[in-house]
Amino acid sequence: MATEILSGKVHVQTTINGESVDFLAEPRESLLEVLRDHLGLTGAKEGCNNGNCGACNVIMDGRLVNACCVLGVEAADSTIETIEGVASPEGLHPLQQSFLENAALQCGVCTPGFIVSAKALLETNPNPSEYEVRWWLAGNLCRCTGYDKIVKAVLQAAEEMRTEG
């Protein structure tokens, strides 16, 4: 729910990583700014601020979105999953473990975006081909790895998740 208040800021209620969250945002602020600057969720990164790099990707109502291209006020009454919600108290998500085991990160700044994107892929296609992984991840830029180890990490995680059911 979004309610404009006197200061020109808007009161927004939403759900982030399973928690009900309230925040105040200016209408011009992106969801990425809200996450990073107001809610302290800095795992989503700003790489371009216009939807070209995928470093800020989050899952919103089941859809993969660039948080920089969604307004904070648009998040009202939605369900958002960020990188901070991917691991559980019991441990890392298979994708996170697989990224570590496959040396699929170097500087690591694109990594949260890739993991969120890959998670969205595997939720709709648990058995992707290498081509499908590359196609799906073409919206995420990585300048360090040349992508090979990322693609292998996603394929390995997919296999593990299928095996574990």
Binding site: A103, C142, R143
Partner: protein, 769 residues
Amino acid sequence: MAVETRTGRTVKHHDNTYNVIGTTPIRHDGVEKVTGEALYGSDINLPGQFHGKVLRSPHAHARILSIDTSRAEALDGVHAVITGQDIPEPADKIISGGEGDGNLLKYKTENILARAKTHYHGHPVAAVAAISPHIAGQAVKLIDVTYEVLPAVLEVREAMAPDAPIIIEDLLTELDDQVISETPSNIAEKMVYETGDVDQGFEESDLIVDREFSFGVVHQGYIETHNATAHWLKDGNIHVWCSSQGAFSIRSELANILDHPITKIHVTPMEIGGGFGGKTTSYLEPLAALLSRKSGRPVKMNMDRDEVLKATGPTPGGYVRVKLGVTNAGIVKAGYAELAFDAGGFPGSVVGAGCKCVFAPYNMPNAKVVGYDVVVNKPKTHAYRAPGATHAEFASETVVDEICRELGLDPVEFRLQNSAKEGDWQLDEPPYARIGHIECVEAARDSDHWQTPLEQVPGKLRGRGIASGFWFNVGLTSSAIARLNSDGSVTLLEGSTDIGGTRTSVAMQFAETLGISVDDVFPIVADTDSVGQTDVTGGSRVTFATGIAAHDAANDMKQQIIAGLADLWEMSEDAITHRDGTFLTDGKSLTVREAALLLTDEEIFPVGRATVTPERVGGAFTTHIADVEVDGETGKVEILRYTAVQDAGVAIYPPYVEGQIQGGVVQGIGWALNEDYVYDDKGLLRNSSLLDYRMPTALDVPNIETIIVEVPNPGHPYGVRGVGEVPIVPPPAAVANAIHDATGLRLRDLPMSPARVQAALTSQNGDQT
């Protein structure tokens, strides 16, 4: 738990075996980087901080007639506005930054904030601090600047012409520290490197090929944009948090630029989201510091992508000519080259390094190379992965391919026959130490890729190319401090920003030396107050040089443990030896863990330390094979298969060596095929977004196959060679040679974009060789 997969294989030229080196532990900083918890520069927020924004020049070349900041200052929420007049008048002195490049402080300061003129589109003119980034952004638009727009010059050969618009009015050309121009020029420096008798060498040649090449501007394209947060305290202490390749470089630049005592500047390196040479200098740090002083609050600044592309330091565009003479038997006799590189808006390109690399893979008895550092109305260029080498060797490695075609020689055999080897000539460098170029070419020749013929499909234009690459690598200074904890674990402080897993590759060398598990080493990238002098993470130097510091610190700790045990056991230190992590003496044997417990119980706390400046660095070589398919209609080039063979000396952490190779190759493929700065006729950059500045995606490239060759580097205790930079060098030449194999066309201008390839395919006058 360890890294599970190796994607490539290793060809060893040594029999050394290790306990830790060559294994695949999970990197120490891994978990926080896959969970989003790692803090990069823009992830910190200080209480009460303001946000800074920069006003940038809308013109490529203009005189600043006046700046009126009053409307910006009047905006509610604005707390400070600064212009070039707020920076101390710079002295005429050289300061060091980046990969050892000297720079006049005056130019560096003017690049950070323009004084009288703007030299390129996006040049900073003023900066604002306000309570939010949006208000700061509004405020910069309220700064009124009157410009006198001047004619701009962007292309390097045009800028060298006698009638070109002069960008720096008192700039005279220097050669060998002597002024050689009588009137102001855009040519800041001319350099000449010569060995043997090049005229004689060409006379002895049966075939001489002489070609010209051109290059657009290419950006490093790190995903994290530049950022800095500064807090100028009332007592004059300045704290800075930033994502830089070198916290110590930022500290020294700030001391010079702000004319401030270095002991009062405290730089904390945050995690860094890529750099590739582009984050070895300061842009925002001095502005954030000045805005903090003026506003009295911490100030955080963050560039957007448009600013990064317009106004940080890309690699130069430019011009290269290569002339190579060989006998009919394919023996290289002489080489001549001219390189003219964009310095950008201020002097100081990487052309000198390019000059020294152009013929480096070959034993060249006679050579002359002339370089020009040229000021143009584009952003001040900076280092990008093996700076200068990719341009230079794109030219020489395609000329080599042309010679092989002309003489009917096998390009592998040509390279083996002429390869540089230990003891051979190196232009303006001492003779090569043990290097691995021949071993790389042999491993490429023996690879599955080279041994498997390229499948030809009717109607498709397919071809294969091969090219080698060389880069110097650098040593510089690194420090490490190691504390032995009571449980036998070690806290390892180092000064090298970890840009791709070097906490672990350095910790592994420490663990190997002391004889403990790498999981018992806790590496920390420390701030400038907490660890010894450490130069930038650049020049492929961290695993090499900081690795030596860790090795030496481990030996220092080992010696202190022996001294402590000798004291406790009341015996001579000579009676105690160390082997495989165990301290031995007559009848006694202690592991490091047992020794730590014993010593710390007696209030003995060993602290190993080392600061090193390696004197023998050793060069890096690589050989790449590319298969391409050229779309005859659109000119689009697809990479079908790619193999990179590289001498890593000894690979400390093989999957991350492969990762460096794969990343460098993909950057090189982007440079070869797509990446380019597009300027309009007014000198304004027209593709300053990641949509229009097109870097490769996962869909654009195949798996990059890797072969690690290990020819140990005699300059490192474990034989390490830096691996980070050289893999970017061969891709443009390997791809160009493959395009020639596919189409018969020689493309000599980068990028080999679809439009260029298509034009070459359809042109009646296509240069068919």
